[in-house]
């Protein structure tokens, strides 16, 4: 008998007694208030992320210093050119030298301060981890109230890869001392920037 058939047979033989129906999951009242943008920012900051308003003339005013100090900028958004073309990257490891990666989130979650990406936003999934710093554009209209609402979205059933990022990479495995930049990005900054930049530029 194959391992598969043996395992399934033993599971059937050992089925626990009693009825165990699948419960309906109610939609809980969101923990957050009506101002999803403010709630999102508050939660994000608590998780070590940063939040920035777009400047009047420069969407990236809040991270301009970081961008100007960067040698390699990989941009996956039309709002910024960058100097590393992600669509031309042959292997994920090749983005190891990226100082700042700029991507757009599919949506944000106010309850946790999380943002969602799929492989479509990241172009090269690994850039969201191998870059030293991550800058995220998020349309304030794309903020969902809670985790439950997020898991009703279709992306999770469609994307080959989908990931929620909540602040930067972190560890406290040594005596509980919190450190950002464990294996992934050292910082994550969300800029509240409506979609439409792409359309405006044709």
């Amino acid at each position: 008998m194959s391992a598969r058939d043996a395992i399934l047979a033993e599971i059937r033989k050992n089925r626990p007694a009693g009825e165990h129906p699948l419960p309906a999951v109610p939609l809980f009242t969101p923990l957050v208030g009506d101002d999803l943008v403010a709630e999102f920012g508050e939660r994000l900051k608590r998780m070590g992320g940063r939040i920035a308003e777009p400047g009047a003339d420069d969407v990236f005013a809040g991270v301009r210093e970081r961008l100007d100090g960067a040698r390699v900028v990989a941009s996956a958004v039309p709002e910024l050119a960058g100097n590393r073309d992600l669509t031309a990257v042959a292997r994920p490891r090749d983005v190891d030298d990226v100082d700042v990666a700029v991507v757009r989130a599919v949506f944000g979650i106010a309850e946790t301060g999380s943002v969602l990406f799929t492989q479509d936003q990241l172009v090269v999934n690994a850039v969201a981890y191998l870059a030293q710093h991550l800058v995220v554009l998020l349309d304030p209209a794309d903020i969902l109230p809670n985790v439950q609402a997020a898991y009703l979205r279709p992306e999770f059933g469609q994307a080959a890869y989908a990931v929620l990022h909540t602040g930067p990479s972190a560890t406290a495995d040594i005596e509980g001392v919190l450190i950002h930049g464990a294996q992934g990005v050292r910082s994550l900054t969300v800029i509240l920037c409506p979609r439409g930049g792409a359309a405006a530029r044709g």
């Binding site: 999770f156 909540t166 990479s169 040594i174 464990a182």
Partner: protein, 522 residues
């Protein structure tokens, strides 16, 4: 709601702050101290005297583990004992704050429990659905009867690709399988990428906690290990320096690895998705950088649908860390272009456990570690004293299913205070199962300790107030750090259900003797 938004600056803590308050990692954008991930509300700094790290239980083949002996050695190292106790109690307190911030917490626990029980009692169907969905997504699916099977399968996949190096994220399942040790013998280089797990790998020790694998080590221990293995400055015990050293030395392995492997927090039947939850981003790198990716999945990790993640994700990190979510929640569903993706579904005793009437619900466990953080025995004896893959209360009821003789003494390493059951996010009746194991083991004469008094193990930990007070420096602090043993006492409830004598003031020893005799007479 004010859920975990206010750092508890005012609360007393034994050890002083280790970092300057203006450190970017510890202060948020608006200047408040951060305590997400597994960080402490105030970083703990063990006193600067050095003290050799107490090692874990002595493993002698199948002979019963003497947890009490290892626990005594742990307590004989006061700096380690105090730092460990305080560290885990901090996680426990943060868990409480997070849980209290959600009005529907109890409802979520009940839902999580019911969803798991439903899935486990229809596990064959959900596994078939998961397999079919994964195959349709282009994922190769393998089935492993036991740990040896798992290791052989993974080795076969690696050999097919000529792969010699593998980066992996933390996975308790691969610990169960002895994966790393097996691969060393096969000439495959395995690199752990989680900081705590990497520390443990470099020190040739097992993880001591399911969430914080090196919680039993002080920064001095880590400095010693890294100096010896990575060539860092032996006198620099700054946690930032040590973590950065691990980041810099691990990254080349990640970039050059032939394969990557992760564990699995949740496997979604309807979509064939594997979900991993980490703070470091290392599982995400293991799955997204090498061109061959493998996910090892315990068959009990199945859940029916994506919407159920909306229940489990809300309780996992809150129970484990007191955070609303982990920094990263990755959903792997299909291979990247030009890469191969494999799932290995592992039984290793789980299907057999399904048939154990009193113990099958332990399969609901989502490995949050809350039961360990709240357990007075665990906090004061260290995870390695259990000499098993799973330590703490959940370990007491899982380990004997792997080896009844070797782990026959573990179910006695408990005060039966029931706190583990109360914090369990999927409502496993842990302390009742501990008691049930005692009966089983007694009836099957698996307990050589019987003659010496069964409470030896827990007793060793809890009967040394002097050592404990010495550890934390002040007698009155002991009450602050270890209040729940006295306060959080559900013996009454438990007794009612089991028609126990109404004797809350009775000493546990006497209480236990009475009930063991009752159980044994059956």
């Amino acid at each position: 709601m004010s859920e975990e938004l206010h750092p508890r600056e005012a609360e007393g803590i034994v050890n002083p702050v280790v970092r300057a308050p203006d450190d970017e990692s510890e202060r948020g954008q608006d200047g408040r101290r951060l305590d997400h991930a597994e960080g402490t509300s105030k970083p703990i700094k063990a006193p600067a005297q050095r003290e050799p790290q107490p090692r874990g239980a002595k493993i002698r083949g199948d002979r019963p583990i003497d947890q009490g002996e290892a626990a005594e050695r742990f307590l004989a190292a006061p700096l380690h004992a105090a730092a460990h106790d305080e560290r885990l109690w901090d996680l426990r307190r943060k868990r409480d704050t997070a849980a209290h911030g959600i009005p529907e917490w109890e409802e979520l626990r009940e839902l999580a429990s019911q969803i798991k029980q439903h899935t486990l009692s229809n596990l064959d169907t959900y596994l078939e659905q998961f397999e079919a969905a994964a195959r349709a997504n282009g994922v190769h699916v393998h089935w492993a009867r036991d740990g040896a099977d798992h290791n052989r399968i993974v080795l076969g996949i690696l050999r097919d690709h000529g792969a010699r190096t593998l980066v992996k994220s933390k996975s308790m399942l691969t610990e169960e399988c002895g994966f790393r040790h097996f691969m060393e013998g096969e000439g495959v280089e395995i690199i752990e990428t989680d900081l705590g797990e990497r520390i443990q790998q470099l020190d040739n020790e097992e993880p001591s906690h399911v969430v914080v694998p090196a919680a039993h080590k002080t920064r001095f221990d880590v400095a010693e290990v890294f100096a010896r293995t990575l060539g860092t400055d032996p006198d620099n015990d700054d946690a930032h320096y040590l973590a950065e050293s691990q980041r810099e030395t691990t990254r080349p392995y990640i970039l050059n690895a032939d394969a990557g492997l992760t564990g699995c927090n949740f496997a979604v039947a309807e979509t064939g998705t594997v979900v991993t939850c980490t703070n470091e981003g290392n599982a995400d790198l293991s799955g997204n950088v090498p061109k061959l990716q493998i996910h090892s999945i315990g068959i009990e990790k199945l859940i029916p649908r994506v919407e159920h993640l909306g229940v489990f994700l809300r309780i996992l990190a809150r129970s484990a860390l007191g955070s609303p979510i982990t920094q990263y929640t990755s959903h792997f569903r299909g291979p990247r272009a030009g890469t191969e993706m494999h799932y290995v579904l592992v039984d290793n005793g789980r299907a057999a456990r399904l048939g154990m009437e009193e113990f099958w619900t332990s399969l609901k466990c989502i490995r949050c570690g809350a039961c360990m953080n709240t357990c007075p025995v665990y906090r004061r004896s260290g995870g390695l004293s259990y000499g098993a893959t799973y330590a703490g209360p959940i370990g007491l009821i899982i380990d004997p299913t792997f080896n009844k003789r070797k782990y026959s003494t573990l179910p006695f390493s408990s005060t039966m205070n029931g706190s583990c059951t109360n914090v369990c996010p999927v409502k496993i009746n842990i302390h009742e199962q501990i008691f049930a194991w005692r009966k089983v083991l007694a009836e099957e004469h698996q307990i050589p300790m019987l003659k010496q008094g069964m409470m030896k193990a827990a007793g060793a930990v809890l009967s040394r107030p002097a050592a404990y007070r010495a550890a934390i420096g002040a007698a009155d602090s002991a009450l602050k750090v270890l209040p729940r043993f006295a306060v959080y006492n559900p013996l009454n409830t438990w007794g009612k259900k089991r028609e126990m004598p109404d004797a809350p003031r009775q000493s546990f020893h006497a209480w236990y003797r009475e009930n063991r005799m009752k159980g044994g007479a059956k």
